[in-house]
């Protein structure tokens, strides 16, 4: 304990020192590229994430063109994609590559690295009153491992045989055998290597976040006085640290099967007319390893969005978050349960029905903490005095989408229904709403809310309103009707439905969905323009605390330097949700408790 304290105070001294003269020392490279300032690293994660989001989103638009009108040709596609779109028609193999990369990019590179990487880095030290992360060096490495993973994943898009194309879940044997699919040639190796580096990045980041939250809280900042954002980011890091290594092991075994002739996942295979010698492996083993990360991953994506929305809903309702301890408790319950439900992705793999029933029970149990969160959010805005800042709009949108997508999870988690709905568009609709769009909304809420702290400027409000309303309407128009396609059993990952008597009745609907997807994508580009324009030309922030919030980040200078607070670290005297208390609009966390103040 002593050494930790000593280290901590040494670090604070070092930072305090740093703060006074860093303006002379910093070069462009140390400030913007190999920066160890958590705020700069957060911005690096965010901007890299945005670039990935544009690429991943664009891929979905291209494959939606194919689904919208399977007979149309787009000559310009051939200009961009060459032999992958001969005559302007997407090749099925490349269609599958796009689907795979869309999933990989958005799940891992955008909603894991882009979301946690940005906000855990930015908010944890600022909200707990620390000068930086516990290890700024590891933090920097975390970004650069992510960058390396990004470069490798990007390069896989340019190899002759194409990028990985077996779906983002890369189930072997499809992903293990180059003969089975051209995307399972070099593209798959690059995918696995890139993901390995990605996992290293995520682990470095996660360990750092956990250590920082546990050790570097400022005076008075007990765990129960931490903002819910920090709690959520903390649990996210715990989830990542405990589950990502399992995927790493799964990926390495797959690399062995692919390149060293092992049979972890392979047995009794005849591919392309050739009998393979592998015996004794199990293709299902990989699914267990994958989903042991894969399901917690859903919550790695969701929890930060939940935390940020809780904070933003409270600030803009000018009301304390309702049931703080229940909110923390439900985050904790979700974190535990997240590890115990992975096989609900595998009800139709031939899983033992009894084992399946255990997973049904545990899966539906997650609905209880989720319901608590929803009702607490509703009570938080009840009798508030709501200001519809762009951040608030997206936080409300998040709650709406979380309800819609969460409820369909009750269908899919019930194995009796899953045997009909598994791998249909119902699943697509469910997880896009609940973890895709909802998490994006949480992320947008966070960006709009903390942009003034990140860049010292505001985003343009009118563009933000357009962005919000078009996106929420568009998201529902895209994904709501997909439930009906799923009820009809329409399978996901199909390149063309027109030859199926059972599914071709949805041709017009698919066209409509593609059109809406195109519009929604265009509006996201509008956001990106707003984002980059406002970094340089946005309206300047002139007050320390533009939203009237209680948390510590608003006690720093408008554009805090490395070390965050120019003088002493602030001391915390209360929880972060004293809004509307004792007739005061808000009481910041660093305000001492008055003698006549009521207790909450």
């Amino acid at each position: 304990m002593d050494t930790v304290a000593a280290h901590e105070s040494a670090m604070h001294d070092a930072h305090a020192h740093d703060h006074h003269d860093h303006h002379h020392q910093e070069t462009f490279i140390s400030k913007y590229i190999f920066s160890m300032d958590h705020k700069m690293i957060a911005r690096q994660f965010l901007i890299t994430g945005i670039i990935w989001a544009i690429i991943g989103g664009l891929f979905s638009v291209i494959f939606r063109l194919q689904l919208g009108d399977p007979n149309a040709t787009y000559p310009w596609l051939e200009d961009f994609l060459g032999h992958w779109a001969k005559g302007g028609k997407l090749n099925p193999e490349f269609y599958y590559a796009l689907v795979t990369m869309h999933g990989t990019i958005l799940v891992f590179f955008v909603l894991t690295a882009g979301l946690s990487g940005t906000f855990a880095n930015f908010l944890i030290p600022l909200q707990i009153g620390a000068r930086d992360m516990a290890s700024p060096m590891l933090n920097m490495l975390s970004y650069w491992f992510f960058f390396l993973a990004s470069v490798i994943m990007m390069s896989s898009l340019f190899v002759q045989t194409g990028p990985a194309s077996g779906g983002w879940t890369i189930y072997p044997p499809l992903s293990a055998l180059g003969e089975a699919s051209s995307g399972s040639k070099i593209g798959m190796d690059l995918w696995l290597v890139s993901m390995s580096f990605f996992i290293v990045s995520s682990l470095l980041g996660g360990l750092n976040y956990i250590t920082t939250v546990l050790n570097l809280r400022t005076k008075g900042m007990s765990m129960t006085r931490m903002p819910l954002t920090v709690w959520a980011l903390f649990f996210t890091a715990v989830l990542g640290v405990l589950s990502f290594p399992v995927l790493l092991s799964g990926a390495i075994l797959l690399l062995f099967d692919r390149n060293l002739g092992t049979s972890f996942y392979l047995s009794d295979i005849i591919v392309a007319g050739k009998v393979l010698p592998n015996e004794g492996g199990s293709a299902i083993l990989f699914q267990h390893l994958f989903w042991f990360l894969g399901h917690p991953e859903v919550y790695i994506i969701l929890l930060p969005a939940m935390g940020m929305s809780s904070e933003i809903l409270s600030v803009n309702s000018r009301k304390p978050i309702f049931g703080y301890m229940a909110m923390v408790g439900s985050l904790f319950a979700i974190t535990i349960l997240a590890f115990l439900v992975w096989a609900h992705h595998m009800f139709v793999t031939g899983l033992n029905p009894f084992l399946g029933s255990v997973f049904v029970l545990l899966t539906l149990l997650i609905a209880v903490p989720s319901a608590i969160k929803v009702f607490n959010w509703l009570t938080t805005i009840w009798k508030g005095n709501i200001r519809f800042t762009p951040g608030m709009l997206f936080a409300i949108g998040f709650v709406s989408l979380f309800i819609s997508g969460g409820l369909t999870g009750i269908f899919l988690g019930n194995s009796a229904l899953d045997v009909h709905l598994h791998d249909t568009y119902f699943v697509i609709a469910h997880f896009h709403i609940v973890m895709g769009v909802a998490s994006f909304f949480g992320m947008y809420a966070g960006v709009y809310h903390w942009f003034p702290k990140m860049f010292g400027r505001y985003l343009n409000n009118t563009l933000a309103y357009i962005h919000f309303w078009v996106t929420i309407i568009g998201a529902y128009l895209i994904f709501w009707p997909m439930h009906y396609e799923g009820l009809a059993g329409m399978p996901r990952r199909y390149y063309d439905f027109s030859n199926w008597e059972s599914f071709k009745q949805f041709g017009e609907l698919n066209q409509f969905i593609s059109l809406v997807a195109l519009i929604v994508f265009a509006v996201q580009i509008l956001f990106v323009i707003n984002f980059f324009y406002s970094i340089f030309k946005g309206r300047k922030v002139t007050t320390l605390n533009p939203w009237g919030a209680n948390t510590l980040e608003w006690t720093t200078p408008i554009r805090p330097g490395h070390g965050n607070w120019p003088g002493e670290l602030p001391e915390v005297h209360r929880w972060p949700y004293d809004y509307a208390k004792d007739g005061k609009e808000f009481i910041a966390q660093d305000v001492p408790v008055g003698a006549d103040e009521s207790k909450h």
């Binding site: 699919s181 031939g350 029933s357 209880v368 709501w480 009820l487």
Partner: protein, 355 residues
């Protein structure tokens, strides 16, 4: 050229929207930022309630348009699937109710409690009674759903009835193959290493096992109506999935690990044509697990027919053993070589699927 225009028009729209947004910022400075903020607040609050109402109308309209196109108005085509439909309706009722209540509260609160001058928010940090209620009520509802769900689940996954017809289905990139056990009702052993395309043994059957000698190899599945059928599911190369949306079932086909699934077809294909009003109706097997570039075209067909039709069809099939080893065929001597066995089989199949 057309594309170029499109790009130009899109860029123009972007610039116009951007300029309007920029101008609105200047206008708000002129008008007073506080005043324009309050105006925006009112507009967004109104949009919240409008979104709620239009959203519900949209959801209803969507149901009008597409419910008829799902498989549910026709009902399940298998006896076991009826339970799944029932479960679906129960779940929809429960979640639908929660959906309507929570979404209404969310957007109505957002509208009702919009910022107003002189109003103070209500300090309400927690209330244990309320929290207890909304922990237990969802827990009770979920228990009900779990109980119903597991009851159906165990029924679906229970062992198939002893009298069930056994059909083996094998998936490979990108087609399905069926094997019927023949008169002895036993499927012959398989060994994947015996796969031999030139000799025609594409299912890797071990013909040393006498049980295999009367096994039938077909590319279309025929089933009698009203009889339980047990599918033994195999895959040769990658994971596939036997998706039977009309029967409400699916099961993965995993190389090296055979799986099973059973059901009882309720309606013949002909009956379904009438029920759906679609003269082209056909039971389709869709591959529901991503299996490579031809995944979307991995289609199989099931013909459900009366027992007589089914037996007639069975009797017309020739055991694969005899097709591959014509010298062992006792009937071969009588027959002339005018038609090969395979074309004969195809003709029969073609006749069967003709309405």
């Amino acid at each position: 050229m057309k594309d170029l225009y499109l790009v130009a028009i899109t860029a123009m729209i972007f610039i116009v929207i951007f300029q309007i947004a920029k101008a609105s910022e200047y206008v708000s400075v002129l008008k007073g930022e506080e005043k324009s903020r309050k105006q925006n607040n009112k507009i967004n609050a109104f949009l919240m309630i409008a979104f709620l109402i239009l959203g519900f109308i949209g959801a209803w309209y969507c149901n009008e348009l597409y419910f008829g196109k799902t498989l549910f108005p026709q009902g399940s085509a298998s006896v076991e699937g009826e339970k799944i439909d029932e479960m679906l309706y129960i779940t929809t009722a429960v979640t639908g109710l929660v959906f309507i209540i929570t979404q209404t509260l969310l957007f109505w609160f957002a509208y009702k409690y919009q910022e107003q001058d002189g109003k103070k928010a209500f300090y309400f940090p927690h209330n244990n009674k309320l929290e207890l209620i909304w922990t237990t009520v969802p827990a009770i509802f979920l228990t009900v759903l779990v109980v119903f769900g597991l009851k159906f689940w165990f029924r679906i996954t229970a062992d198939a009835p002893k009298e069930a017809i056994v059909v083996e289905i094998t998936g490979h990139q990108f087609a399905w193959d069926m094997r019927y056990p023949g008169v002895d009702n036993k499927l012959g052993k398989k060994n994947y290493k015996l796969y031999n395309k030139p000799s025609g043994n594409t299912l890797a059957v071990d013909f040393a096992d006498p049980d295999s000698h009367d096994d039938l190899h077909t590319t279309e599945m025929h089933l009698p109506v009203g009889k339980p059928v047990k599918l033994v599911i195999n895959a040769q190369d990658v994971i596939h999935d036997v998706g039977l949306s009309h029967f409400r079932l699916k099961m993965d086909a995993v190389p090296g690990i055979p799986t099973t699934m059973w059901f009882t077809p309720k309606y013949t294909t002909e009956e379904m044509k009438k029920r759906t009003g679609n003269p082209n109706f056909v039971y389709e097997i869709s591959c529901d697990q991503m299996c490579g570039k031809g995944h979307f075209s991995m289609r199989g067909v099931i013909v459900v027919e009366t027992e007589e039709q089914y037996n007639k069809w069975l009797s017309e099939q020739k055991p694969e053993y005899l097709t591959l080893h014509p010298e062992k065929d006792p009937s071969k001597a009588k027959e002339n070589q005018a038609t090969t066995d395979t074309t004969a089989k195809q003709q029969v199949v073609a006749q069967m699927i003709k309405p």
